[in-house]
């Protein structure tokens, strides 16, 4: 069984608080058909999650999930089926940061764990942005702004 197949059944966990204060705020509630203006930036939860994970990776913020309440949200396969290259990107990023290095490629649990912890870190970063300015991401321009502000670390 290859990695992707193994990953498909696994789930990405995250903290409930992040679901409420970030994911639900920035993603459309399931099934709503609102017009462009009142639509949230992300139409599905996995998008917001992936975005948070990437932010965590870029800022190298890894925070173990710990024992707080977590919410099993979605299967990895959701990202794979809807996000195309993003799923592969996550795997690669996870591997690049994993202690196990390339061996992570045959360790689905490790891949998941790393993604989860960087996503967690990413959520914390987003959380503190919002604490400073509640409306930071109310303006859709903010997402692209944030993108363009990312610094590329030169190796």
């Amino acid at each position: 069984m290859n990695l992707v197949t193994e990953l498909s059944d696994k789930r990405l966990k995250y903290k409930v608080i992040h679901r409420k204060s970030i994911m639900d705020r920035l993603s459309d509630v399931q099934g709503s058909q609102s017009d462009t203006k009142s639509r949230k930036y992300f139409s599905q939860l996995w998008e917001c999650y992936t975005w948070a994970a990437i932010i965590g990776f870029i800022n190298d913020k890894r925070v173990p999930l710990g024992s707080g309440s977590t919410d099993n949200a979605f299967k990895f396969s959701v990202i794979y089926n809807n996000g195309g290259e993003l799923a592969d990107a996550l795997i690669l990023l996870s591997m690049s940061k994993s202690n196990k290095g390339y061996k992570a490629l045959i360790d689905a649990d490790e891949i998941i764990k790393v993604i989860e912890e960087y996503a967690n870190g990413g959520f914390e970063i987003i959380q503190s942005l919002l604490r400073e300015d509640e409306d930071y991401f109310n303006n859709p321009d903010a997402f692209i702004e944030e993108l363009l502000e990312r610094k590329e670390l030169n190796l």
Binding site: N2, L3, T36, Y41, F42, S43, E47, T50, W51, I54, F57, I58, G83, G84, E85, L86, D88, A89, I91, L92, L93, M95, S96, K97, G101, Y102, K103, L105, I106, P140, F143, I144, L147, L148, R150, K151, E152, L153, N154, L155
Partner: protein
């Protein structure tokens, strides 16, 4: 004429009998907050004199159609038994010093209204009361007999008409909503009527009539008398008759001209109206089309913005969010290479055989032969030795680099190498894609703003059309055609009228010339007796002289008066604009249309004034009309008004009040919404002679004012 006091009993919010205000000369201010009973006070004045109350949103309504609605609620509520009687009355005492030469007389004008409880049940329902009609009475001391007299019905009405002539009473007081109903400044006739009333213009007409008639009579008589003295009476009489005929025809023609002129004026007004409508209509379709076009363009822009937006989110969630991770992918690539290197090292290692292990071929040979060729001992299949040899071979057949784990990793690495390659390629296009998207989006936003501004501009233009002309422009083409037809017809009619008038004038001139000639012939006829003088000939000189001069006074006095009204109005207007920055310019009365305009120094119309400013201009004109009336008519009337505080700021209001106090012998101003702490401020102004405060109260101590318990309380602060 001065209002000395007003007393209210059970009238609207005024309960019982103790409601009296005694006014002084000069400026009286009645202050109170909303719903304290101020406008009801105003209603009281109007009701006494006119038997009507102004109902919000409707019109002036006669008492007989009001039921018991204006009777005080507390009084109604206190009624518990059948046959209970409630008297509602308003009494004003007026001192008339407008009659010259007579003592000042006080008139007590009273209107009374009685209701009697017919049935129990809802005390607020008219059905449960018997209603009398309202009764008017005027009490006064007869200046001749010194007896107290009471006038009722028509007699009372006549006295009231004398005291408050109906031509001027609309200008004596006005209040808020009622203002536009009472005085329609857009109607040419209104100002003309006011001018006629307060000016001598009608008097000049009378003067002209009298002296012309006398002149005519004297002239005719002169001719007759002279005729008696002539040598040729029959010829004289013949010529005289001709002259008389000519005079008669001139007289008829003059009358005809007057009629036609009136008709012409009316037609011109109609034409004016049609022109206004046409102007609005012509502009409207063009503007409307423009509006629709801009709206369509806005829709298109909106759609493209939407598309851009959808595209952005799609791209964000499929690629763009990876922006900034390049270094991480590099690190991932490094990891993959790490594995490949490792694997390669394993592979190379594999081909370096340890010395004690024979090569593959040799091992296979030994297995086949079932003999260990190294130690030269037989190794039967499945014997220990044979198995050992096999194990060694297997071990070699599965080199480390081919271990399950490594194989698995290798497969993944291979796959992900490819994916990484694809990702990298796509990654490189992210930045440009984003910038391009943004550029397109910004351009669309800018375009949208431009079009939105354009749309607003067009809408404003259309509104201006509507507001300025006050015309319903929704019907469009049909109305346009109709109005255009009217326009043509009216123009024809006017042309014809003008022609007729000119023609008639020409006839008059011809007749006058004929008369002159005939008179010349007359004078040539010898008198039989030169020494006899005809007195009428002498008198005729005087009457002719006076009538020719007086004929022109009417028009010049008229123009003089309008100028006077305008400049008086501008005096008070100027005082207010000097303290209020939002209004500017001057008041101008358009001589043709009599519309009231706000103009700048050069006489150009300013269009930025709002309703408040317009009200202010009207009030200044009314001020000036009344004050001129007071001068002209040698009479003074009080000025009773609602101060438009909500339309002016406080400084402007005070300036206005001060101006009023100096213009009128007595003025009564009912102010809107002045706080209790403002009252002290007003009280101390020395141009305020009387100050009264109205407040809604109840005796029960409830903070909520229930209509059944609440009543207006009058406090006299200064008087």
């Amino acid at each position: 004429m001065i209002i000395k006091s007003v007393k209210l009993k059970n009238f609207q919010s005024y309960y019982g009998e103790k409601n009296k205000i005694e006014f002084t000369e000069g400026l009286n201010i009645i202050a109170g907050s909303i719903a304290s009973g101020k406008s009801k006070l105003f209603d009281a004045f109007y009701w006494v004199l006119n038997d009507k109350i102004f109902v919000t949103g409707k019109d002036w309504v006669f008492t007989k159609n009001l039921g018991i609605s204006f009777v005080n609620d507390k009084a109604k509520n206190e009624s518990t038994a059948i046959d209970d009687l409630i008297e509602t009355s308003v009494e004003i005492v007026v001192k008339n010093n407008n009659e010259r030469g007579s003592k000042n007389i006080n008139y007590t004008i009273r209107r009374q209204f009685l209701i009697k409880r017919r049935e129990l049940g809802d005390c607020f329902s008219s059905e449960n009361w018997n209603i009398s009609s309202s009764d008017l009475s005027v009490e006064y001391i007869d200046k001749v007999t010194s007896n107290a007299e009471i006038a009722k019905n028509q007699e009372a009405k006549d006295i009231i008409e004398k005291l408050f002539p109906s031509k001027i009473s609309p200008y004596i007081w006005f209040q808020g909503e009622a203002l536009d109903k009472l005085i329609d400044f857009d109607n040419k006739g209104t100002i003309r009527k006011a001018i006629d009333y307060i000016s001598y213009v009608p008097l000049y007409k009378i003067m002209n009539n009298i002296i012309s008639e006398v002149d005519k009579k004297i002239t005719n008589r002169a001719r007759k008398e002279i005729g008696k003295l002539t040598s040729d009476i029959s010829k004289y009489e013949e010529i005289s008759k001709k002259i008389e005929q000519k005079n008669a025809s001139i007289s008829n023609n003059k009358q005809l001209i007057e009629e036609k002129s009136k008709s012409l004026a009316l037609r011109k007004e109609q034409l004016d109206e049609v022109e206004r409508v046409l102007a609005a209509l012509v502009e409207f379709p063009v503007l409307n089309e423009e509006k629709i076009e801009i709206e369509n363009d806005l829709n298109t822009i909106g759609e493209s913005i939407q598309r851009l937006d959808i595209n952005e989110r799609k791209k964000f969630s499929s690629l763009w969010m990876l922006y900034g991770t390049k270094h991480l992918f590099k690190s991932a690539a490094d990891r993959l290479i790490e594995f490949e290197d490792y694997r390669q090292s394993l592979i190379s290692k594999e081909y370096e055989l340890p010395e004690d292990v024979p090569g593959d071929v040799y091992l296979n040979k030994m297995l086949d032969q079932e003999i260990c060729l190294i130690c030269d001992r037989p190794a039967e299949k499945n014997s220990n030795a044979w198995n050992n040899m096999k194990a060694k071979l297997n071990r070699k057949l599965k080199p480390e680099y081919l271990s399950e784990e490594n194989e698995k990793i290798n497969k993944e690495v291979g796959g992900f190498k490819a994916k990484l390659g694809s990702l990298s390629r796509n990654y490189d296009s992210i930045h440009d894609e984003i910038l391009d998207h943004r550029k397109k989006l910004n351009e669309a936003y800018e375009e949208r703003i431009i079009y939105q501004d354009k749309l607003q501009q067009v809408k404003d233009d259309i509104d201006k059309l509507y507001n300025k002309r006050g015309i319903d422009i929704s019907d469009g083409t049909l109305t346009h055609r109709k109005k255009h037809g009217e326009y043509k017809t009216l123009n024809e009619i006017i042309t014809n009228l003008n022609r007729k008038i000119e023609g008639t004038k020409a006839s008059i001139r011809d007749a006058e010339m004929d008369i002159a000639q005939l008179e010349g012939e007359l004078s040539k006829i010898q008198r039989s007796n030169d020494s006899v003088k005809v007195i009428e000939e002498e008198i005729k000189k005087y009457t002719k002289y006076l009538s020719s001069h007086i004929a022109n006074i009417e028009e010049s006095e008229y123009n003089k008066l309008i100028n006077l009204i305008e400049s008086e109005a501008n005096m008070s207007f100027g005082e207010i604009t000097s303290v209020n920055n939002t209004i500017d310019g001057y008041i101008k009365i358009d001589r043709e249309t009599f519309r009231v305009l706000n103009v700048d120094n050069d006489g150009r119309e300013l269009e930025n004034y709002n309703t408040g400013h317009y009200t202010l201009m009207k009030m200044c004109i009314i001020n000036s009309i009344i004050s001129l009336t007071n001068e002209y008519k040698d009479a003074s009337y009080p000025f009773i008004t609602d101060a438009p505080t909500s339309n002016l700021d406080n400084k402007a209001t005070f300036a206005y009040l001060q101006s009023i106090s100096e213009t009128f012998k007595q003025s009564i101003v009912i102010t809107k919404d002045i706080d209790e702490n403002e009252i002290d401020n007003i009280k101390n102004k020395d141009y305020v002679k009387g100050l009264f405060h109205l407040k809604i109260k109840n005796d029960t101590g409830n903070s909520v004012m229930d209509r059944k318990e609440a009543f207006t309380n009058i406090t006299t602060i200064k008087n």
